[in-house]
Symmetry: C2
Subunit: 139 residues, 2 copies
DNA sequence: ATAATATTTGCAACAATATTGCAAATATGT
DNA sequence: ACATATTTGCAATATTGTTGCAAATATTAT
């Protein structure tokens, strides 16, 4: 994705364009999977302050640019939203895959989370599904 | 669950019986849903050291007494395993529900995680599903 | 029941992760 | 280019998780 496209993406999502945001956005575009705060801190090291990374991730998520992925261990991972996500409205109903070997977290955009029938009284709002196993590359 | 039954449960899972473990196990038995480390720290406060709670939860999980629930925010939650779980072998393939209103995390023992078809090359090992929404009590 | 052995606990220190206030720097709209 | 609004970096602080070790407790053998 070109720098111009990234500028547009930020503006489209109501954010001012800054170096930090462009850099972090670029990391997401080039990443093979989802990124944790720590990943970004390593890859963008020195240039960007830890605190800025926290705030950028928070802003990106609020504005609908990235979404979080639930994991069984304690690490929040973030991935780019493909489409249809806007401020306050995430629609990332695809399955996430975490490789037990290489640790990569991958969005399976084409596999969407199946509906399940809940016991009476439970009203579903959003569903998340995470599959662990071995990914294409590690097979 | 009586104290004697809890003692048995600990022994059955190859753990020595201690006050801390009995207290924490009791919390799980009486809890309406899953518990985070912080919840336990509050409820069992003063009596049990922070570190002991960490270690107890880790042991319980290793021995197959409780399982972790993935959440989108950064908090690990733990819940009692019902059955068929033993040292190193968890079989908690049921759906978890998190109420957006009261925040409770509930194991839906009877709803199990559906299979999904993955793209070629991905080999699934374990699936987790978490549904957000409104629970029975908050409706 | 008691002693010997193994396990667990609590404390202290430390490491890692996350949050907040505020002044300086940068971006936006006119 | 200027005025205004937003963002950044630094420092301080809070929260969360880990490790080593001696004292306390539980288990096993006698």
């Amino acid at each position: 994705m070109s720098t111009d496209m990234m500028r547009e993406l930020l503006k489209k999502n109501h954010m001012s364009v800054t170096d930090s945001r462009l850099q972090i956005l670029e990391l997401f575009c080039n990443a093979p999977g989802a990124l944790a705060h720590a990943d970004i801190e390593k890859k963008a090291s020195d240039k960007i302050d830890r605190v800025t990374i926290y705030r950028t991730l928070q802003t990106f998520e609020e504005k609908g640019l990235i979404h979080t992925i639930p994991t069984a261990d304690n690490s929040i991972k973030y991935a780019l939203c493909k489409d249809h996500c806007a401020e306050g409205h995430h629609h990332d109903n695809h399955v996430h895959f975490i490789c037990d070997k290489c640790g990569k977290t991958i969005c399976l955009e084409d596999v969407h989370v199946p509906e399940v029938k809940l016991p009476g009284g439970f009203v579903p709002h959003q569903s998340n599904m995470v599959v662990n196993g071995i990914c294409q590359d590690c097979k």
